[in-house]
Every structure is written in structure tokens, then in C-alpha cells.
Amino acid sequence: MSEQEYYIPHGTYWPIIGSIGVSTLFVGFANQMHGAEWGGSVMALGFAILVFMMFGWFGQVVNESTNGIYNKQVDRSFRWGMSWFIFSEVMFFAAFFGALFYARQFSVPWLGGEGNNIFTPDLWNAFSASWHQMAFLAPGTELQSGTVMSFPAIPDTGIVTATPADVVDPWGLPALNTALLLASGVTLTFAHHALRAGHRNQIVGWLVATIALGAAFLGFQIMEYGHAYQDGLKLTSGIYGSTFYMLTGFHGFHVTVGVIMLTVILYRVQKGHFTADNHFGFEGVAWYWHFVDVVWLGLFVFVYWL
């Protein structure tokens, strides 16, 4: 298609399929949480519809692209679209980082009596503000009579205000995972360089290394969750557990998506879809991976260290 022509696609069924898929997924999820037995299956159905939609829609776009239907203007529209999509992702993570900072700097110290101490003096006489702790057992939770807990609780209520013993140790798995993810950023940069220099064989090698490092990261992350749960750090362990799991969890989800996208890119590289000059698909995914990498670095510094 020539540069002077506008491209306007045919009508399409994919959006309505996507809407049906995502609505089914959400309705199933909500019912699952409310204890409906069929909730899980409906969720799975919705997810399957969504995956079908993505394969179909992206497949169609890739086909049109390789058939040369798109021109530079369409390419630029995709670039704008991808960049602002990623900016919306940044703002999504910002909400959770904001919650982390607020809890660390304001709500937990205030509950501990900092500032004018109007919030808590008698309400929380056994409460001590400490970052790594706090859990809430619902009132009426059966604790064995005479149990002595080695963590603070509000007398006679069973509201435990502190559990587990310590924050997650940043040495060990978290450090290893950071190294893995950073290494994947390096290998991806080599792949990017190879693509720009036109060395197709090297691209494949570096991409495979990137995908492997990303998958290893996910594996270790699951291991870490296992350890943390055994040590008593749960999603329900108060604000520390909440921010820890939500931030790392959403990050892990994005890594999973990134690994899938990189795999697709690997496939497309082998098919010869990209040239040294024209490889927006690769650039978009590469940037996404770098973004996920930076989010992790932020997590590592702010959740594990500072």
C-alpha cells in the first residue's frame, strides 16, 4: 500500500467477541468469589474466549502487516497506541506504589501514635507500629483458650496485630531474582542489537536466553511465595502482606504476559517477519520488557530494601 493512502480496515467481529469473553470472565470470577460452584468453569470459559479473541485479532493484524497492507502512518498509530497503553500501566502500578508509600509513611506510624496521637491512644493499647507485621484475625476466630501468642494482640479480642517474625529477607531469592531479570534485560538488549545489525541467528539465541531467564524468574517467584506463606507472611498479614503480594503479584502477572509476548516475537523472528529497519512488533515488546524490568527494580528497592 502506498504512503499516500489512508488505511481503514474492514468491519470486525473480534471486539464483540472480546467483550463477551471479558464479561464472562468477570461474571464467573464474581460468582466464584461468592461461592457459586459453577463460577470457576464460567471464568475458564471467559478466559478461553479472550485467548481465542487475542489469537484471532493479533493474528489478523500480523497477517495484514506481513502482506504489506500497512504503511508508515499505520505503523505510527500503533507506536502511539503502544506507548500510551504502557503509560496507563505505569499509572496502574503507581496506585499500588502510592498505597505502599502512604502506609509506610503515614497510616502505620499514625496508628502507632505518631503525630498528635488522636487516633489510637486507648483503642490500640497493645499496638506497636512496625512495618513488617500486622494481621487481622476476624473477631470470633477460634483461638485455643490460654494460647500465648508471641506477637501483639488486642487483649481478649483475638485481633492479632503482629505476625510474622520478620520482613522478607532481600538476600537470597529476591536478590537472585533481581539478577535474573536484569540479566534478561541485558540479553534482550543484545537481541535488539543483533536485530538491528541483521544477524538473525544471534537474535534467536539471545531471545531464547531472555525467555528462559524470565521463566526462571517466575519459577523462583513461586518458590518465594511458598517460603513466605510457610513463614506466615500471607495476603492476609496486614498491610505489609497486602502491598507485598499485590505489587509482586501484579508484577509477576506482567512478567508472564511479557514471556508470552517474547515467545510470539521469537516465532515471528523465525518466520522472518522483521527487518533491520522495520520491526515495531519487536520494539514494542522489548520496551514492555524493559518496563517490567524497571518495575521490578523499583519493587526490589522499595519493598525489600528501603
Partner: protein, 534 residues
């Protein structure tokens, strides 16, 4: 030579049948879908409002349980904000932006289809909560924790997912508009040649992309607090309900500008046309819009003066809020200066636009009153707040949407609406809306709290007046529906530029704009001749 070549059906106009609307990638079809969806939601949300005003007609409990009253106020707010006003502006943007920038269509037409077709699903999920056990959400449209977490009905989870879907839709719509404006603009059109509606929508898109993901984060935390035992908004676990308010209003304050900036754009088109003068201060309008957008991100806690924030923070948020009055004042003065010594006529769109300037300014001033910390301690959560945001959202945002409908309806349909009926409808609406909302200022200043189904006797008179105004205003939409349908079906065919001093590339198209707006980009001479910045 540039031509739009794509698919065969595009050359011959739209497909036939129902599937046209499901499959469409055409900006005009999708714009119409948005507008009709928004109008339907406006009627639904309006019906809820009628229920609210009926209950408040007299003191005492008349028609409904307090719990149901709360469901009505909650759903009225949610439906109007997310179902009516926002989709209506996206619809206007879809219809008008490609025509105004000399493009054939939106930049990402398939995604455009998806941003619309998520909405009916989200709306259905949201409305279905009425039929669930425990009823619909009843915690107000701001869904503060812990009302929305610990004490809310099960249906709240459906509400959360509906908000997620609405967020996807808005973000995709905003991405599309940015890509369209920056990439599909006629090659000869510079940024400062763009019409103000395009400018305001471009800036609004940045607000949407910055704010909607934060809302998604807030409802996600609500979801896990409710179902998975996290403690974000729960002080027993070290979280804080006030954290919810911070996150919500970090979204919520840009959100109110999302709903009003495109309205500013619309009015900046209509007033010059009927004053027969170029827009006064084009570039200052652009800069004022950008300043308002920037400021909207750093004033959110003025909604939270009574949460026990440190005094230093209250002072900062108060002064930052006052600052917004400066660029907004610039806009109001520019509109007035545009009208100054113009050869004015008052066709229906102009009536709506002029009353917008007047009534929106009232809403803006009551906003300033609320932004002053010591005063807000008195006004907070009273009917004064209700009066304030209805003046900016009904006689602001909705007014501009109706003005835009009358102004561009000839371009959309190729036909003229009935001018007499249009004027009758305007006067009916503008009188009744003031009878409806103006007494609420007095109620608020006298101390009547918002979101309650019953009130003490001294508030009875003003509530009666307000309710009567409400019913009259509600009924005016029956006439509006008739006028629009009558125009589409039987309107007199009009020329391509039915308003003789209207400027803008859209008026150079055929009387009923062709299916794909510009198959060849307009020339530099044409763009300059049609520019607002001259």
C-alpha cells in the same frame, strides 16, 4: 493524491442490517452508537433522579426504604458519570475529531469498536446489581471504604468489575483519540491550527490515561480487601480508609475535568459562530486548558478537608485549588470578549452555550467557596455540594453536550431540527433546572445533609420547590427526544454550512457528512480559511 482505499464496502457506504453496528469500524457509526448509548443511560439515570426527588418531595418516608434510596443515589451518580456524560463526549469526539482535523477516520478503528462495545456489557453488569440479593451498591458514587468494603452487599464485586470494564473502554478511547489527533491530522495542519474541541479532547485524553488506571487500582484493592483479606483500607491491619479517599480522588479530581474540558471546547465553537466574530484569545484558551489539566492532578485532597489531614496539607490543597480559578477565569473572559460587540443571534445552540457560560460560572464560584478550608467545614457533605456539582455537571457538561447536539445535528443528518421547538425546549429546561438546583444552595447553607431520604421540617419548602423543578426538568427530555428523532426523520434538508459564520473543516463536507470524512487531506489554504486561530 491521497485516497482512502481499504475495503469494498467502505466505497459503497455502510453495510446493511444489524451487524453493521456490531462490526463497524467507522467513526461516525461508532460515534452514533456512543451518543445513543449515552442518551439511554441519561434517561435511566434520570429516572433514578426522579425517584430521589419524589422521595424528597415531602419530609417523612413516602415511597421507599432508606436502603433503596441510597441505592438510587449511588446508581444515579455512577450511571450519569460513567454511562452518560463520559460516553457522550467520547461519542462527540468520535464524530467530530476526524472531520475537524481533515482525516478519513480514527487512527485505530478496530480498537474504537471495542471501546464502545465494552460499554453495554459494563452497563448491564452495573444495572444487574439492582436485582441481586442485598440490592445494588448503596454507598454513594464515591464508594468510600469501609462502606464499600466491610459493609457492602455482595453485588459490590459486580460493580467493581463493571468499573474495570468502563476503565478499559475509557483508556482505549483516549489512546485512540491521541493517536488520531497526533497522527491522522491533515499534513498541512499545525497543532495551533487545531480547533479547540480537538485541543480540549487531546488534553482530556491525557487526563483519562493518567486517571483511569488509578481508579482501576483503587477498585482492585477494594476487591482484594473484600474477598482476599488484604488490609489496604482496614486500620486493623495497618491500612487506612483515608488511603482509599486519596487514591479515589487522585482519580476523581481529574475525572471532573475529563467531563468539563470537552465542554469548554464545544462552547468555544458555538459562541464565535453566533457572535460572528473570531474566538477571542485562541492560544490563551489552549494554554488555559493545559494549565487546568495540570492543576487537576495536584488538588485532589480538597475533597477531604474533613478527614483529619495535617493543616499544612489543607493549606496547600486550598491554595492550589484557588489557582484553578485563574485559567478557568481566562476562559470565561475569553468567551465574553468573543461576544463583545458581536452581531449576535440566538439560535438554539447559542442559547445553550450562553446559558452554559452563565450557569457554569455559578457552579465554578460555589466550587471556590467549597475549596476554602474554613468554609468547607460548614459546607462539607451538605446539599450545597450537591448544588455545586450539579451546576457544573448538568448546566456545564450536559449543557455543552446538548448544545453540541443542536449545533452539529445538521452536519450529522443533513437536516435541520425544528428551531421553534428547540427554543421552547431550551427555555423549559433552563428554567426548570434552576428551580431544581438553585434552592439546593439554600438547603445546604441551612445545613441539610446530602444522601438522606428524610429531613427535618424546616427544609420542606425548598425541597418541594426543588422536586417540582426536577419533575419539570425530567419531562423536558421527552421533548428533546422528539426534536432529535423529528430532525433525523422529517427535518428540512440543509446546506453544508447551515450556520453561515461557522468555521471549521467539518462544514466543508457534504451537508450530511460522507461516510469517510476526508479521502484527500485538505489544503493549507482551506485549513487557514477554516482555522479558529486567525
Amino acid at each position: 493524491m491521497t485516497t482512502a482505499t481499504a475495503s469494498h464496502d467502505d466505497h459503497h457506504g455502510p453495510e446493511k442490517g444489524l451487524m453493521r453496528w456490531v462490526k463497524t469500524t467507522n467513526h461516525k457509526d461508532i460515534g452514533s452508537l456512543y451518543l445513543w448509548f449515552a442518551f439511554t443511560m441519561l434517561l435511566v439515570g434520570g429516572a433514578f433522579a426522579m425517584g430521589i426527588r419524589a422521595e424528597l418531595l415531602q419530609p417523612g418516608m413516602q415511597l421507599m426504604e432508606p436502603q433503596f434510596f441510597n441505592q438510587l443515589t449511588t446508581m444515579h451518580g455512577l450511571i450519569m458519570v460513567f454511562g452518560a456524560i463520559m460516553p457522550a463526549f467520547v461519542g462527540l469526539g468520535n464524530w467530530l475529531i476526524p472531520m475537524m482535523i481533515g482525516a478519513p477516520d480514527m487512527a485505530l478503528p478496530r480498537m474504537n469498536n471495542w471501546s464502545f462495545w465494552i460499554l453495554p456489557f459494563a452497563g448491564a453488569i452495573l444495572l444487574s446489581t439492582f436485582f441481586m440479593e442485598g440490592g445494588a451498591p448503596a454507598f454513594g458514587w464515591t464508594f468510600y471504604a469501609p462502606l464499600s468494603t466491610t459493609f457492602a452487599p455482595d453485588s459490590t464485586d459486580f460493580f467493581i468489575f463493571a468499573v474495570h470494564l468502563l476503565g478499559f473502554s475509557s483508556i482505549m478511547g483516549a489512546i485512540n483519540i491521541i493517536a488520531t489527533v497526533l497522527n491522522m491530522r491533515a499534513p498541512e495542519m499545525k497543532l495551533m491550527d487545531m480547533p479547540l474541541f480537538v485541543w480540549t479532547w487531546l488534553i482530556t485524553s491525557f487526563l483519562l490515561i493518567g486517571a483511569m488506571p488509578v481508579l482501576a487500582g483503587a477498585v482492585t484493592m477494594m476487591l482484594t480487601d473484600r474477598n482476599f483479606g488484604t488490609a489496604f483500607f482496614d486500620a486493623t491491619g495497618g491500612g487506612d480508609p483515608v488511603l482509599f479517599q486519596h487514591i479515589f480522588w487522585f482519580f476523581g479530581h481529574p475525572e471532573v475535568y475529563i467531563m468539563i474540558l470537552p465542554a469548554f471546547g464545544v462552547v468555544s465553537h458555538i459562541i464565535p459562530t453566533f457572535a460572528r466574530k473570531p474566538l477571542f484569545g485562541y492560544s490563551s484558551m489552549v494554554y488555559a486548558t493545559a494549565s487546568i489539566a495540570f492543576l487537576s492532578y495536584i488538588v485532589w485532597a480538597h475533597h477531604m478537608f474533613l478527614t483529619g489531614m495535617p493543616v499544612a496539607a489543607e493549606l496547600y490543597f486550598m491554595y492550589a485549588t484557588m489557582l484553578i480559578a485563574v485559567p478557568t477565569g481566562v476562559k470565561v473572559f475569553n468567551w465574553i470578549a468573543t461576544m463583545w460587540r458581536g452581531s449576535m443571534t440566538f439560535e438554539t445552540p447559542m442559547l445553550w452555550a450562553v446559558s452554559f457560560v452563565f450557569l457554569f460560572t455559578i457552579g465554578g464560584f460555589s466550587g471556590l467557596m467549597l475549596g476554602i478550608v474554613p468554609a468547607d467545614i460548614q459546607y462539607h457533605d451538605t446539599y450545597f455540594v450537591v448544588a455545586h456539582f450539579h451546576y457544573v455537571l448538568v448546566t456545564g457538561a450536559l449543557w455543552a453536550i446538548i448544545a453540541a447536539t443542536f449545533y452539529w445535528l445538521p452536519k450529522w443528518t443533513g437536516r435541520m431540527y425544528n428551531e421553534t421547538l428547540g427554543k421552547v425546549h431550551f427555555w423549559w429546561a433552563v428554567i426548570s433546572v434552576n428551580v431544581l438546583f438553585f434552592p439546593q444552595h439554600f438547603l445546604g447553607l441551612a445545613g441539610m445533609p446530602r444522601r438522606i431520604p428524610d429531613y427535618s421540617l424546616q427544609f420542606a419548602d425548598f425541597n418541594l420547590i426543588s422536586s417540582l423543578g426536577g419533575f419539570a426538568f425530567g419531562a423536558s427530555f421527552i421533548l428533546l427526544t422528539y426534536i432529535v428523532i423529528d430532525c433525523v426523520r422529517n427535518g428540512k434538508p440543509c446546506g453544508s454550512r447551515p450556520w453561515e459564520s461557522a468555521k471549521g473543516l467539518e462544514w466543508t463536507l457534504e451537508p450530511k457528512a460522507q461516510y469517510h470524512s476526508f479521502n484527500t487531506p485538505p489544503s493549507r489554504a482551506l485549513i487557514e480559511a477554516e482555522s479558529q486561530n486567525s
